[in-house]
């Protein structure tokens, strides 16, 4: 409450600068402490520190590179998923979209020797965008919950992938060296494709936080009916979120073909649940209206790191999934407790104001 009262006066009557700065500092600090990303980021740090203490090999340059490479694909998918979830929808077809575009990438390189890498990226993202547009159109026109629609397209896209690929697989050997290098070469320890993911995260984060279109997505997820009454182009925005998710899944598919050796009919199967889990753990509320892509990205990093960390700590593989499950439940529990606490704080502070 003090912050609210001091900041307007600081602009009009110029109090001692130190006090104003301290107040701004306090407000920034309290904002940071309240944000949904902080618990996940702290969990990630604790995890890395503990694991490294037990097994120093965990944080070698090669270890770090592996961690980042493993996380990259999920981070990009989680960013797209966050966009969709924020509008109170969900996209379960991302794993299948990734499979199709990864296979397209393999096919293009194998069938058209010398095809420019940029063209392949473009083709993958176009295909992803088209698949996402189909999801979005079905959701907005049929007015059936996205959970059902994208569950359907999950199977449809996978079926198309199966029919197209059959038993065929494409291997890294079919692809140009420059393409594979994206996943092997590093800049100050960061693989190139990870840097690309970081650019995606930052770009989408800026759109979500600082553009009207981005803010509309939060409004829609917060109360779709109110958004419609208010004249927000709900259909167009939701369609846009699905297309964006598709384009990002397409990008992830192309990168998948760069990162992993084989692409075929089953590439990306089951990824969608990891991606939704990453977004939820990262503080994107499953009922829409709140959360950030930075959070979702940290969530993705946390989930993939846990798998590696448990291996480094020699925890039985069978326990790993259970631990991820516990993490999801704790993320939701913490979120609930924090919001109850905040409601109580608001109640108390307003009562005092009366």
């Amino acid at each position: 409450m003090t912050n609210v009262k001091t900041s307007p006066s600081s602009s009009s009557s110029t109090p001692p600068p130190t006090a104003a700065q301290a107040s701004i500092g306090r407000s920034a600090l309290s904002k940071v402490m309240r944000s949904r990303e902080v618990p996940v980021a702290s969990a990630l740090i604790v995890l890395v520190v503990v694991t490294t203490a037990v097994n120093p090999l965990f944080l070698t340059p090669q270890g770090v590179k592996d961690l980042l490479l493993n996380a990259t694909i999920v981070i990009i998918l989680a960013v797209g998923q966050a966009l969709v979830i924020i509008t109170r929808n969900v996209d379960l077809s991302v794993g299948s979209m990734l499979g199709l575009t990864a296979y397209l990438t393999g096919t293009l390189f194998a069938d058209i020797p010398g095809i420019p890498i940029a063209v392949v990226f473009l083709a993958g993202m176009l295909l992803g965008g088209a698949l996402g547009a189909l999801n979005g159109l079905l959701v907005t026109i049929a007015k059936v919950p996205a959970l059902v629609i994208t569950l359907g397209t999950l199977y449809i896209y996978r079926g198309v992938n199966n029919a197209w690929a059959g038993g065929t697989q494409y291997f890294a050997g079919d692809r140009p060296r420059g393409f594979s290098n994206l996943s092997t070469q590093t800049v100050v320890g960061f693989p190139l494709i990870t840097l690309l993911a970081v650019v995606v995260v930052i770009g989408v984060a800026i759109v979500l936080a600082y553009t009207r279109t981005g803010r509309d997505l939060y409004a829609i997820g917060s109360d779709p009916e109110a958004a419609r009454l208010f004249g927000i182009p709900v259909t167009r925005r939701v369609l846009g979120a699905f297309i964006a998710s598709g384009i990002l899944a397409g990008l992830a598919g192309v990168l998948y073909a760069s990162r992993y050796n084989a692409v075929g009919a089953t590439t990306g199967t089951g990824l969608e649940l990891d991606v939704v889990a990453a977004a939820v753990v990262g503080g994107v509320a499953i009922f829409g209206g709140s959360g950030t892509v930075v959070g979702a990205a940290i969530g993705a990093l946390l989930l993939t790191t846990i798998t590696s960390a448990l291996t480094a700590l020699r925890v039985d593989k069978f326990w790993q999934q259970a631990i991820v499950g516990v993490l999801i439940l704790s993320a939701i529990t913490i979120d609930r407790i924090v919001s109850l606490y905040r409601a109580r704080q608001l109640r108390m502070s307003e009562a005092r104001d009366v």
Partner: protein
């Protein structure tokens, strides 16, 4: 001050003539006709189901009329969406405030048109500053950085108004803006409305409160059964005439209070407190007694009711029902002990809108209607039908979803739901909010009948005539404390308002 004579010759800013709107076989609007002139406050009245909300949704671009002549500044227009009407300077405040709970207050005001700074990016600083400026114009201390979730209805309404002001609306339409407000808030809202009018805006508002309609408006338009009946200059028409036009008949007694024998104490609340919400609340309600709980919105009345019923926890005090202590924070136990609660927001808290009339009416009886855990459909139907007919719920079929009913009839279903449990204490929170004149009288008669049958009734109401007309005893709350207990004989509008607003001692 602009009067009718001054606006009489002026071309209406907004005019709709003979608009028709049907939804399948249902004619929601048979003859939607209204003219709003710049610089006037125009009241739209009619019973629930008269087509007022449909008319407003046509003006707002939410619904597109099937036929009719719609003009803005004399030019024909067709709004295809709410965005069109907003762009044309028509701002609408709906009955249920349409805020986004997850967004900040400032963002709620500016969503879709946030001030932009460098590189086309939203400037949060500018947005915050503009929001603060709006609130200081309105004279309300709302923190623009707060998220909208948990704001009182009065504050939500203020934010809607801030939104409309910032849009520089030429026409402001308000659908029952004061339904959830009382006292200070209503006055504040009226002050804002008058200054907007004096600034040349045309204002159209729906209200069921005649004191407001006559105190605020320059002209009044009456609708009945989806059709335009008449437009009057407010100064040259009487309440009786308006009521007659609204209902198509005369209404004799608005508050038919029957004499009931008052028996033993049923509810005893002593020293009840919840930190930051209410403190040291003590009172009793006896069998056959209607106790009115008056006060301004935000005085803590609903919160006391919620604590008694067990929805919220309380930190201090105790509640006994029929001499036995009531288990705190356990609505199931309260229902079992014989308490019914008719909540203030019937759409969200009182009914399951998608379920049928029958299902809603028998919701509280599920276990007694069930055999081996499975609900007996036949008994459910018979019980539901029985209660619907006893309360004269008007519905085409008891199998229709309750959302198809008018507000008054929905309230009857909520009452039926609780009466079916045969309660000893019924708490009714704003029982006639948003209900039309005719049905209001029926709801009052029902409540009065309950008291005659020996049920203890605790009635929260912001409508003074209702409190004064119905209650045997009036409790008044202010800022979380019980400030007065007034007997029926001594209760007047002045004594109740005094207790509700009078600040004692230190504060201002």
């Amino acid at each position: 001050m602009v009067t009718n004579t001054a606006t009489a010759g002026i071309r209406p800013v907004l005019e709709l003539h003979h608009a028709v709107k049907t939804f399948g076989p249902v004619v929601a609007l048979a003859d939607g006709t209204i003219e709003v002139r710049p610089g006037e406050i125009h009241a739209l009245v009619g019973e629930n189901g008269a087509g007022k909300s449909t008319l407003i949704k046509v003006l707002a671009g939410v619904h597109q009329p099937d036929s009719g002549d719609f003009r803005l500044n004399g030019e024909p227009v067709a709004f295809r969406s709410p965005a069109d009407s907003k762009a044309a300077g028509v701002s609408v405040i709906y009955q249920e405030p349409t805020l986004f709970p997850d967004l900040t207050v400032a963002e709620n005001i500016f969503i879709g048109r946030q001030p932009r700074g460098r590189g086309g990016m939203i400037s949060r600083q500018a947005m915050r500053a503009q929001a603060r400026e709006l609130f200081s114009t309105l004279g309300v201390p709302i923190d623009p950085d707060r998220i909208a979730e948990g704001l009182s209805i009065a504050d939500q309404q203020i934010i809607e108004i801030a939104k409309a002001i910032s849009l520089d609306a030429r026409v402001l339409i308000m659908d029952e803006p004061t339904a959830a407000l009382s006292g200070v808030e209503v006055e504040r809202l009226f002050g804002v409305a008058r200054s907007l009018r004096d600034g040349g805006a045309g204002i159209l508002f729906i209200s069921h409160r005649f004191d407001e309609v006559f105190g605020l408006s320059d002209r009044i338009t009456v609708m009945r059964d989806g059709a335009f009946i008449a437009t009057h200059d407010t100064t040259s028409v009487t309440i009786d005439r308006i009521v007659r036009e609204m209902v198509g008949r005369d209404i004799s007694a608005l508050f038919p209070k029957a004499e009931a024998t008052i028996g033993d104490t049923v509810l005893e609340v002593s020293g009840l407190g919840r930190a930051g919400v209410f403190h040291d609340v003590s009172f009793t309600v006896r069998a056959g007694e209607i106790v009115g709980l008056a006060g301004l919105v935000g005085a803590g009345r609903t919160e006391v009711a919620r604590a008694i019923f067990g929805i919220d926890r309380y930190d201090a005090g105790s509640v006994t029902l029929g001499g036995a202590p009531l288990k705190p924070h356990d609505p199931q136990a309260s229902i079992a002990a014989g308490i019914g609660l008719v909540p203030e927001d019937r759409r969200k808290q009182g009914l399951v809108m998608e379920l049928s009339v029958t299902r809603n009416a028998t919701l509280t009886l599920r276990s007694s209607l069930a055999r081996f855990g499975i609900i007996d459909g036949g008994r459910e139907r018979r019980t539901g039908a029985d209660w619907s007919s006893r309360l004269q719920v008007k519905t085409a079929s008891p199998d229709l979803p309750v959302s198809t009913l008018s507000g008054g009839n929905q309230q009857k279903v909520v009452l039926a739901k609780w009466l079916a449990t045969d309660p000893t204490l019924l708490i009714v929170d704003e029982p006639t909010r948003g209900i039309d004149v005719g049905t209001k009288a029926e709801v009052h008669r029902l409540i009065s009948d309950l008291a005659v049958r020996g049920i203890a009734v605790l009635m929260i109401s912001s409508e003074l005539p209702e409190v004064l007309g119905m209650a045997d005893r009036v409790l008044v709350m202010r800022e979380g404390r019980l400030t007065a207990t007034i007997d029926r004989a001594d209760a007047t509008a002045e004594s109740v308002m005094f207790a509700a607003t009078h600040t004692t001692g230190s504060a201002a």
